[in-house]
Amino acid sequence: MIEQRMSLRAVVAGIAKRNLLATIRMPSIIAPSLIFPIFILISFTSGFTALTDLPNFPTDNFTSWYLPFAALQGSSFAGAGAGFSAARDIENGFFDRLLLSPGRRVGILLGGLSVGFVRSTITALVVIATGFALGARPAVDDPLQVLGGLAVIILGAWAVATMAGLWSLGVAYRLKTERAAPLFFIVVFMALFLSTAQVPIDLMNSGWLQAIARWNPITYLLRFVRQGFVTPFSWADTWPGVVTVTAVLGLLFLWTWRALARYEK
């Protein structure tokens, strides 16, 4: 049992280290996940700032509203990188050699996801710093709420990076080619934008988007991560996010796990 646990840790650490080194050695991979959300944050908060003039907009600071979303968006790109690495390893044969090794399969999965944690943390921190520079401010002047607001953004970044990572790994294990990369991003991109990314549900202009946003787990994740910056912390904004994210992560884990199992057959 002890040997098994060590083996899992060794597999996760080994794969994580390898993927992390590969990422560091290719700045062209890291740059988009950092530059894109920063640019989107600057562009949307400066361009769409007048949206806060809409009646009942929950804050008068659009940067505070948009900052958590920009962090999630950048983190989703960081997480989807797991699919890239896996698809590349599948194409060059390394993944098959990995499966022949005595390491536990769950370790291969977790190792693939682990880089997303590191990258999404960096992305979230950079986006938060940019957001503050652009004028984002906490909803209330309570140090605990401020810290909590920062913490939930980091937690949200990890959650969305893991979701995107599991999704992209599931696609990579099934399609076994780097050419599937657009699928990693397009689905995540659409899931993010078909939510309360830009305005709250009540202020949306179309019923169809309101309906989709109400069912979209990202909406509940956004409610969770906007605490501290847009609204004070409340149980009503916390539990739907936690429950939805847990359920989605569980389903995505099953989807990816089954893909890995099928890959081996």
């Binding site: 989107i40 400066s46 305005v199 988007l209």
Partner: protein
């Protein structure tokens, strides 16, 4: 052997020969684009996605004081067309870079083909595609009671402007493709186009932006191009607005063709 400049080379060939060659190369360029769904589909999908999402999410902003017009969809038409045209026109650069990589471009230069015909031929494909994109997006929003207030004249100006805009962005992409000879480098310029669109009036009126961003977007040439067309979308037809829309896009197209010509000159000088 003394290097002959493109202008001297073309003068020797004569106008009729140049026109015939340009037509043949234009046909090649158009067929090439139409045979590539990977070029067509993303250029329809992404602008449509942004148009639909922005209208559905921030559409109520059209009720804000200072927002031009009273609905978001007609407001967004000009920006969407420009976005689609801009994204699709980069293919002109990729195609020429591909020709350089495959050696076709050098063979063309070695043959008695007009230099101007080479450029115009490459640009014809994106110009035709640009016109089709303008008609496509105008047709997409029309059923939602979002028609151009300038009427038929407005649509004609929209299509003409889209053609010139395609030549503009295609010309700059072509220059990059000719200078670098690399598909990767040409496609690497994509983020620049993305930035140019977002720091403009494509998705939101300049007057409602933050002051420093308003300054940037207000001085962005892309904003001038969009606003020219937008005037005809939101206001009844006027010759002044039509001349402004066509004039701005034509001027930009002329500059882009000259830049592409200069790039070709520079490449010939290196031979």
């Amino acid at each position: 052997m003394t290097a002959v400049t493109p202008a001297v080379h073309d003068a020797r060939l004569g106008l009729r020969a140049t026109a015939g060659q340009a037509a043949a190369l234009a046909r090649r360029s158009i067929v090439r684009i139409m045979r590539q769904p990977q070029v067509i589909v993303p250029n329809l999908f992404f602008p449509t996605f942004f148009l639909v999402i922005n209208n559905a999410s921030v559409g109520k902003a059209a009720g804000l004081p200072g927002f031009p017009g009273d609905r978001y969809l007609p407001f967004a038409l000009a920006g969407t067309v420009l976005q689609a045209v801009m994204l699709s026109s980069t293919s002109a650069g990729s195609e020429v870079a591909l020709d350089i990589e495959s050696g076709f471009f050098e063979r063309m230069l070695a043959s008695p083909v007009s230099r101007l015909a080479i450029l115009l031929g490459q640009l014809a494909g994106v110009a035709v595609f640009g016109a089709l994109l303008a008609l496509f997006f105008a047709a997409v929003i029309a059923p939602f009671d979002a028609v151009m207030k300038a009427g038929i004249g407005g649509y004609v100006v929209l299509v003409i402007s889209a053609v010139f805009l395609a030549v503009t962005f295609g010309g700059f992409a072509l220059a990059l493709g000719i200078r670098t000879g690399s598909v990767e480098a040409t496609q690497g310029a994509f983020p620049l186009y993305f930035v140019a669109i977002f720091i403009s009036s494509a998705f939101f009126p300049v007057a409602l932006m933050t002051p420093w961003y308003r300054h940037l977007a207000g001085n962005n040439p892309v904003t001038f191009m969009i606003d020219g067309i937008r005037d005809l979308t939101l206001e009844p037809f006027s010759w002044a607005a039509a001349a402004n829309a066509i004039g701005v896009s034509f001027g930009a197209a002329l500059v882009a063709v000259l830049v592409a010509f200069a790039a070709l000159n520079a490449r010939l000088a290196q031979r």
